[in-house]
């Protein structure tokens, strides 16, 4: 347990040493709200979306969490390049502790990073419902761990960092665009039943819906029953954390990371 915590601690510490990345991401987040959110909300005047700005802030929080959690995969390539991967594999830490710790560490650090940004945004838009907010926070925790696990799993399968970068870009485009992060499910479904179907089974949709439910942002247009997205997120977290452990273990133990 102690070693698992140390692996988590390491990933959290390292993330906050990338000061440039952190500052740039924060600027990106603020400008998305202050520029895109404010301007785009003036264009959107739909019955289903009474206040797009509030809706967008909720979705943007989940998108930022997603992109921060994905970063752990890039860390793996950085570590492979500097040989740190070999070092980690030589430590008196079991492979399971290592991958689980990294998955949790990757999720936790993104949560720590995005947390204050989300808190400030919620304060600005004045939307807090304490109990459901805590439930949604828990769900976002699991979501972030699941995304980290997914990123680690993909990174150890794909050996080239360039390919990983491109794939994650494409995946980001698909997984975020085919979700309710930026537009309500009814609108997605109206544009294409296929899109709606995919968006219905998308972890980003689950996270965005739960977050909006928890924070009380536009409950009319999001899920009224949090159970379905909560189960979806638990399944996503479980799959990528534990499947990730198995794949990671197989790939690295055989020297497949080289």
């Amino acid at each position: 347990m102690n070693k698992l915590l140390l692996v988590i601690e390491r990933d959290v510490r390292i993330f906050f040493q990338y000061k440039f990345l952190i500052i740039m991401r924060a600027i990106w987040f603020v400008s998305q709200i202050a520029l895109f959110g404010l301007i785009a909300s003036r264009m959107i005047n739909l019955r289903e979306v009474p206040d797009y700005f509030r809706y967008y802030v909720g979705g943007l929080s989940v998108m930022t969490l997603y992109s921060a959690a994905v970063f752990i995969g890039f860390d793996l390539y950085e570590e492979a390049e500097h040989g740190v991967f070999e070092y980690l594999l030589s430590l008196p830490v079991s492979r399971q502790q290592l991958v689980l710790g990294r998955s949790i560490g990757g999720g936790l650090r993104s949560f720590i990073y995005v947390g204050p940004l989300i808190a400030v945004s919620l304060y600005v838009i004045g939307a807090i419902n304490p109990i459901s907010f805590l439930i949604s926070l828990f769900a976002l925790f699991l979501f972030a761990f699941g995304v980290s696990g997914m990123s680690i799993t993909i990174a150890v399968i794909i050996k080239s960092s360039d390919r990983f970068d491109i794939l994650m870009g494409v995946l980001d485009a698909l997984i975020v665009r085919l979700s309710t992060a930026m537009y309500p499910l009814a609108i997605v479904q109206a544009s294409s039943p296929l899109y709606g179907g995919i968006a219905n089974f998308n972890p980003v949709t689950y996270a965005a819906d739960l977050f909006r439910w928890g924070t009380g942002i536009e409950t009319i247009i999001t899920s009224q029953n949090p159970l379905m997205p909560l189960l979806g997120i638990i399944a996503f977290f479980g799959f990528f954390t534990f499947v990730g452990v198995v794949i990671y273990d197989k790939r690295i133990e055989g020297g497949g990371w080289q």
Binding site: E9, R10, Q17, S90, P92
Partner: protein, 320 residues
């Protein structure tokens, strides 16, 4: 006593390349075993397999009583490695690197703080401990890498070219620290391509070339194994009689005698320290005054050349 490491037919193939070829080796508890060979000889690959970082293609090794294939977690609990290339992210500081390493290796808070300070101080790395790794020279990064093992004090320490990129003073300091580590009970595997380093530190040396272990023994026995490897040059006051040259050739340790000048002889022989007193007696009996005598032993370079037919530099070029 059973060896602390037993390597049995350990092999690693990368496609058609055989990086380590059926390596068999035993490491005794408490010894410093030097693995000597040029870059590309297979030393690092062998080490990575023993450390369970890389899975062997064939064969296995037992570390303590644990099989590297079946109980890798247990194996890692006994080992500490200082890698050839320092393994650290550029955003980290020496303090972050060694402090976290000490924690993960299970040192108590008090012990960790004491040892980290002690070792970083000894390696002249206490002052720059908060600098980012990217601001450090190659030699400084190498010191941080070796500091990890010196702080950890594992049962088995593996050090891969521990003093490459380090200045002469630093080299001697690290050598002393490695000897102290051994005194404190660690077994050390020293992989190096520096012959002098292997000679100075190792109780036994194994010579690797092209993935194979060619020979292993104490440095002295390896040097003695070269027939006529010791050279004795004798300067006489008067011309050396033919008879004495014949008598010298008759000694069983003497492989050859050359008369460089009428008053100067060069002897190629083995076990110089045993033979020289007998040679001196011979000259005294024959009443031939000796004005000077100079002895030189073969180096590990000669040993390497003897077993591979190449100098270590040539072997290095061959593998590039």
């Amino acid at each position: 006593m059973a060896p602390i490491i037993r390597i049995e037919s350990l092999t690693k193939k990368f496609g058609n390349l055989i990086a380590v070829d059926h390596l068999n080796l035993e490491v005794e508890e408490g010894e410093i075993l030097g693995l000597l060979g040029p870059n590309g000889a297979g030393k690092t690959t062998a080490i990575l397999m023993v450390a369970t970082v890389m899975r062997p293609t064939e064969g296995t090794a037992y570390v303590g009583e644990y099989d590297i294939r079946k109980q890798p977690d247990r194996v890692r609990g006994l080992l500490g490695i200082a890698f050839q290339e320092p393994k650290m992210l550029w955003v980290s500081t020496p303090w972050d690197v060694v402090n976290w390493h000490a924690k993960v290796c299970g040192l108590s808070t008090e012990e960790r703080k004491r040892r980290v300070k002690e070792v970083l101080n000894a390696l002249d790395m206490w002052e720059p401990r908060r600098k980012n790794v990217h601001a450090l020279s190659g030699g400084m990064r190498k010191r941080v890498e070796i500091a990890k093992v010196l702080i950890q004090r594992p049962k088995i320490a593996i050090v891969d070219e521990p003093t490459s990129q380090i200045d002469v003073v630093g080299k001697h300091r690290i050598w002393n620290m490695l000897l102290e580590l051994r005194e404190e009970g660690s077994t050390i595997i020293l992989a190096t391509n520096e012959l002098y380093e292997a000679d100075q530190l190792s109780d036994r040396v194994g010579i690797m070339h092209k993935g194979k272990l060619l020979v292993r023994d104490t440095p002295k026995k390896l040097k003695d194994s070269i027939l006529g490897g010791d050279i004795v040059e004798i300067q006489l006051e008067k011309d050396a009689p033919v008879k004495i040259v014949e008598e010298l050739k008759g000694l069983k340790e003497v492989v050859d005698v050359t008369q460089v000048k009428p008053t100067s002889l060069r002897l190629y022989l083995n076990r110089v320290e045993e033979v020289v007193p007998r040679i001196m007696n011979l000259f005294t009996k024959k009443n031939i005054p000796v004005t000077s005598i100079r002895m030189s032993e073969p180096s590990l370079d000669d040993v390497f050349a003897h077993y591979t037919g190449l100098t270590i530099e040539q072997a290095q070029k061959d593998s590039e």
